[in-house]
């Protein structure tokens, strides 16, 4: 565990959840998903486009802020990452506020593009480092975007996975529940159950999340480090160990 940073571990976990993708898009202020997307691009068998909002280098659009949503609306984004002030066991997400809407405590920033992208992007990966009953709640207080929709609703997309600082879950679309896939090194099932506010499925024996491989770390510390330096200088400095310290 001393050989990689927390950011490096989580980037590899996120990368593992992506699956086959031609285009991965990452929202603003999301350094770990950005690193994960570049990791996928570097290891995929086929070309992968990586679009990073907030980056100049990885932002290929020229038709204003709407273009990324138009692009998603046409089914051209395969994977997107979303967070949430609250996330519940049915994968509903709340980016608006805890408590009553007109007297929230705390108020969150707002729904951003979630009420659209969660419906349109085939595989949305939920990512929130904080793994606590404050975040992972039985039922969100405000649905910025629901985890699933009735069959008549146009919804080619939705949640595929949830990654936190402690564990990785998969979302079962049929059962509309999360299933615990693996627990990150340093944590155990009792802790996950204790810190998760919703019920989830799990085997009796839950595997540990594998540590990053040398090949993954090499990519994060070269390609990702170089390409994210402009957009996320502090993340790169603090989390993606440089070649000198990686040995």
């Amino acid at each position: 565990m001393a050989d990689y940073s927390r950011g490096e571990l989580l980037a590899t976990v996120l990368a593992d959840t992506v699956g086959y993708a031609r285009c991965i898009t990452v929202g603003a202020v999301s350094p770990i998903p950005a690193a994960a997307a570049l990791l996928v691009r570097e290891t995929a068998a086929k070309p992968v486009d990586v679009i990073i909002l907030g980056s100049t280098r990885h932002f290929p659009f020229t038709d204003g802020g709407r273009e990324v949503f138009d692009f998603a609306g046409r089914g051209r984004i395969d994977v997107f990452f979303l967070g949430g002030g609250q996330i519940d066991g049915a994968a509903n997400i709340n980016l608006v506020g805890a408590g009553p809407w007109d007297a929230p405590k705390p108020r969150f920033p707002g729904s951003f593009g979630s009420a659209y992208l969660y419906y349109l992007v085939p595989r949305v990966i939920l990512f929130r480092e904080e793994h606590s009953r404050r975040v992972l709640v039985p039922k969100v207080d405000f649905v910025s975007a629901p985890g699933s929709s009735p069959p008549e609703v146009h919804r080619p997309g939705g949640p595929a996975a949830l990654v936190t600082g402690k564990a990785r879950f998969a979302f079962d679309k049929e059962r509309r529940r999360f299933r615990l896939v693996s627990i990150h090194p340093g944590h155990d099932l009792d802790e996950i159950v204790a810190e998760t506010g919703f019920d989830f499925d799990h085997d009796a024996d839950v595997p540990a999340t594998p540590a990053p491989t040398d090949a993954q770390l090499a990519i994060l510390r070269s390609v990702a480090r170089e390409e994210l330096a402009d957009t996320y200088p502090e993340f790169v400095r603090d989390q993606l160990a440089g070649p000198a310290t990686a040995a």
Binding site: G64, R107, P109, S111, A115, Y116, Y119, P150
Partner: protein, 278 residues
């Protein structure tokens, strides 16, 4: 091709904005007119509606804290890596702010309806979210183009036509044309508002529309009501390649604005004291 009174000072630029006006502004670091925002606070206008294009940050937080804005329509209020807007959070939690909940593409789409004079625009998503409960002005209809006998709910958003668009851009020419470059959502905002109030870093020597290289990124003077040259007009926010966000200042703001007293001191020092704020 223009009736703009060119290159005014900030007070003249903001003269048309009266109490209760609605203003659309670009998202953080995409051309936020911060110098003009400080002047707007000094002007003492109130009850403004601020439409974020589609999110906002420091600008709306300052305006809320200073009591200038009473209604917002923003998909989020965030200072990015510096966190949520403290004055926005405090006002929202105290119920002192009217918040029209929305989502980024809904703002874009409603502004596009606005620029066209269309009454509405359809948008996918949203159905089944609690946004609909908070937006009684939005409608859900059955998509008239769905296959016979199927039910395909889709949201219609009414057009947004703000009174003004207020933003900061790189260049303007003496004809009143403004170069916004790649930040094209600013063009949609200006079209939707019809009246753009613009600060610029500098003056372009020539006619932006006559230069085929510059024209694609140029907002025509037809939409521009006022212009003011404000070097570093986005400070403390960054602007394009010209200058980065002043991170120490942002951290100081967030720390100060956590309390009303701290915010009042910030206003005194950086906004109300013209000498220090310019």
């Amino acid at each position: 091709m223009t009736r703009t009174t060119l290159f005014q000072d900030l007070d003249a630029l903001l003269e048309p904005i009266g109490d209760g006006a609605s203003i659309v502004v670009p998202t953080e670091t995409n051309g936020v007119a911060m110098a003009a925002t400080r002047a707007l606070i000094r002007k003492g206008v109130k009850d403004l509606t601020l439409v974020g294009g589609p999110t906002s940050g420091l600008q709306v937080d300052l305006l809320i804290g200073a009591g200038v804005v009473s209604t917002i329509e923003c998909a989020a209020v965030s200072l990015g890596e510096f966190g949520i807007g403290p004055r926005f959070r405090a006002a929202a939690e105290a119920g002192r702010l009217t918040i029209r909940e929305t989502t980024c593409p809904a703002v874009h789409a409603a502004l596009q309806a606005g620029e066209k004079g269309n009454p509405f625009m359809p948008l996918r998503g949203i159905v089944g979210s609690d946004l609909l409960e908070r937006r009684p002005d939005w409608r859900v209809i059955d998509n008239p183009f769905a296959s016979e006998g199927t039910h395909d709910p889709i949201v219609l958003l009414p057009a947004i036509t703000p009174d003004f668009a207020l933003f900061h851009a790189a260049l303007a020419d003496v004809h009143g044309n403004v170069w916004v470059g790649r930040r094209r959502e600013i063009m949609t905002m200006a079209h939707a508002a019809g009246r753009a109030l613009v600060t610029v870093e500098g003056i372009y020597d020539g006619d932006l529309l006559a230069d085929e290289t510059m024209a694609p990124g140029t907002l025509p003077a037809l939409y521009v009501e006022g212009l003011s040259v404000q070097e570093k007009g986005s400070w403390p926010l960054g602007f394009a390649d010209a200058y980065p966000t002043d991170a120490p200042h942002m951290r100081a703001y967030v720390a100060a604005a956590k309390s009303e007293e701290g915010f009042a001191r910030y206003l005194d020092e950086f906004v109300l004291n013209r000498a220090a704020a310019a």
